[in-house]
Amino acid sequence: MRLVFAYIDPGAGSLIIQALIAAVVSVPFFFRNAIRSTIGRLRRKPAGVASGSITPEDAGAKPTAAE
């Protein structure tokens, strides 16, 4: 039951699959960031970095594209 090709809007499927994929990948994303922030906190304690600087949680939450 495909529509006439010229009327097919691939945008709808893209939106739906995007939401699904995002839901799935947010789980490992969350855990990765949690682990990273824990490691960061353990490392930070002996170093005694002043609070108020950018925390590893912040850094971990950013999808920072590499150079």
Partner: protein, 470 residues
């Protein structure tokens, strides 16, 4: 108002109602339309505009007088820095396209930190400046709305992820699909062409294979007026960040298989003796120095391979476009330049026998190679035999084309007795009685004046410096 030079809209700038690019008196401007005023103000006040330019992610621009706007409803006019040469994504090698993809994601990440988002992810919005990718569409950013999915997701997959995946896992030449599909590789096609094993890679399985399937399945939804209409799709900030992070990891994970093609190691197997190579390098340097002294600044090195002579042109002071029709040579060249931090040379995947056509709306949206000719000097070394004998291009036609590309020419004559020509002739009949240095001189002198002729030591090849006849 009346004595102001007329504005000419750039032919590729018609899709976006929020503004457009135009030229007045040769200078490039961008008009921002009233409909985009809110987003433009947020772009400025959030600090994103300044941050993107500071980080080299976005092309720099300066505000200019509003009166320069050619159409009513303008809220701002800016003059972006001019790009030396506008290249098209199908002219980039794998790593160039990959760097452009990562730049796009980086721009989105920075936008997110400033409460804004990218609304466009066309590969044509990226250009290479001084060896690095930079975003050129200053109007690509809008205010982020809570719960909104990432709008350009499909565009990113079609423009970047699909061609990169095809090149990495199927064949490096498949980047050329972008020449046929100006809006990116259709995902159903990409899904069909990708090897089966890519269904086991989480990133490609999700963003290409499942994505293509979802497009097919929901293709009729747009007209449905029910509760699960696509406009109702929402997404938390964390999920959107996770999606973008996953896209970045998927792109970063794509690597070309490490093998060369016939061309990529060509530079090391020329017919020259050591003395011949030294002589040729010194002569090319001398001829290019003379061209530079005559006022040339931009050089096109045709058939540049991995760029031995492009480097000489750059050290003579030129900004160099290094064109080659072999994707592996262009890829290697780009990687070497990137590693060395060389900013004056831009390698591009363009073969002279079939140069990039003009594509898109009315055949004017993206210009052909010849339509973009802006060189002061064309360098054509070890090229004449490939076109004249390898592709049956008559010498007068070769001279005509070079004369269309630049006013000055440094060209190498490769005689029939040369081992490389003999190799080309070994598998075919010699139907080239006119292929002699005398014939070459005569054919080229119709278009050019020969300024200097320099035979290469220990070889029968000859270098020429020529000036186009006016």
């Amino acid at each position: 108002m009346t004595d102001r030079p007329a504005a000419e809209r750039e032919p590729g700038s018609y899709r976006d109602p929020s503004g457009f690019v135009f030229r007045r008196d040769g200078v490039l401007y961008r008009q921002v339309n009233a409909v985009f005023a809110g987003d433009w103000a947020a772009f400025e006040s959030s600090g994103l505009h300044a941050a993107l330019v500071r980080e080299g992610v976005l092309v720099a621009d300066r505000p200019v007088a509003l009166e320069l706007a050619p159409e009513p409803n303008a809220v701002a006019v800016i003059a972006p820095d001019e790009i030396g040469f506008i290249s098209h994504p199908f002219e980039w090698s794998f790593s160039q396209l990959k760097d452009a993809a990562l730049l796009t994601l980086r721009a989105q990440a920075m936008a997110g930190e400033h409460g804004m988002t990218l609304r466009d992810a066309s590969a044509y919005n990226v250009q290479f400046v001084a060896g690095r990718p930079v975003l050129i569409d200053t109007l690509s950013f809008e205010r982020a709305r809570a719960g909104e999915p990432w709008k350009p997701y499909r565009q990113f997959c079609e423009n970047f992820l699909a061609p990169l995946a095809l090149m990495a896992t199927r064949d490096g030449r498949l980047g050329q699909l972008l020449r046929s599909w100006i809006d990116g590789v259709p995902l159903d096609l990409a899904s069909e062409l990708l090897p089966r094993r890519t269904r086991l890679s989480a990133g490609l399985a999700a963003h290409i294979h499942l994505h293509a399937r979802a497009q097919r399945r929901h293709s009729g939804d747009a007209v449905a007026e029910d509760a699960v209409a696509p406009r109702g799709v929402t997404m938390s900030d964390t999920r959107r960040l996770a999606l973008l992070d996953h896209l970045r990891r998927t792109v970063e994970g794509l690597k070309l298989p490490a093998h060369g093609t016939e061309w990529a190691d060509y530079a090391d197997q020329t017919s020259y003796s050591a003395a011949g190579t030294t002589s040729k390098e010194a002569l090319v340097r001398r001829l290019l120095d003379a061209c530079f002294a005559a006022g040339g600044r931009r050089a096109w090195d045709l058939g540049a391979n991995t760029g031995r002579y492009s480097a000489i042109a750059a050290s003579a002071g030129f900004e160099v476009l290094a064109l080659d029709g072999d994707w592996a040579a262009v890829e290697r060249h780009y990687l070497a330049l990137r590693a060395a931090g060389e900013r004056r040379i831009m390698p591009l995947l363009i073969g002279l026998a079939d140069p990039s056509p003009a594509i898109g709306w009315a055949n004017t949206e993206r210009a052909s190679l010849i339509g973009r000719a802006n060189a002061d000097v064309v360098v054509a070394l070890a090229l004449v035999h490939h076109l004249a004998i390898g592709r049956n291009v008559p010498l007068p036609m070769f001279a005509d084309l070079l004369a269309r590309l630049a006013p000055t020419l440094v060209v190498e004559w490769v005689p029939k007795e040369d081992p490389m020509v003999q190799r080309l002739l070994s598998a075919r009949e010699d139907i080239f009685p006119g292929y002699t240095v005398e014939g070459f001189r005569e054919d080229f002198e119709r278009r050019f004046e020969i300024v200097e002729e320099a035979p290469i030591d220990d070889s029968r090849r000859v270098l020429f410096r020529m000036r186009r006849r006016t």
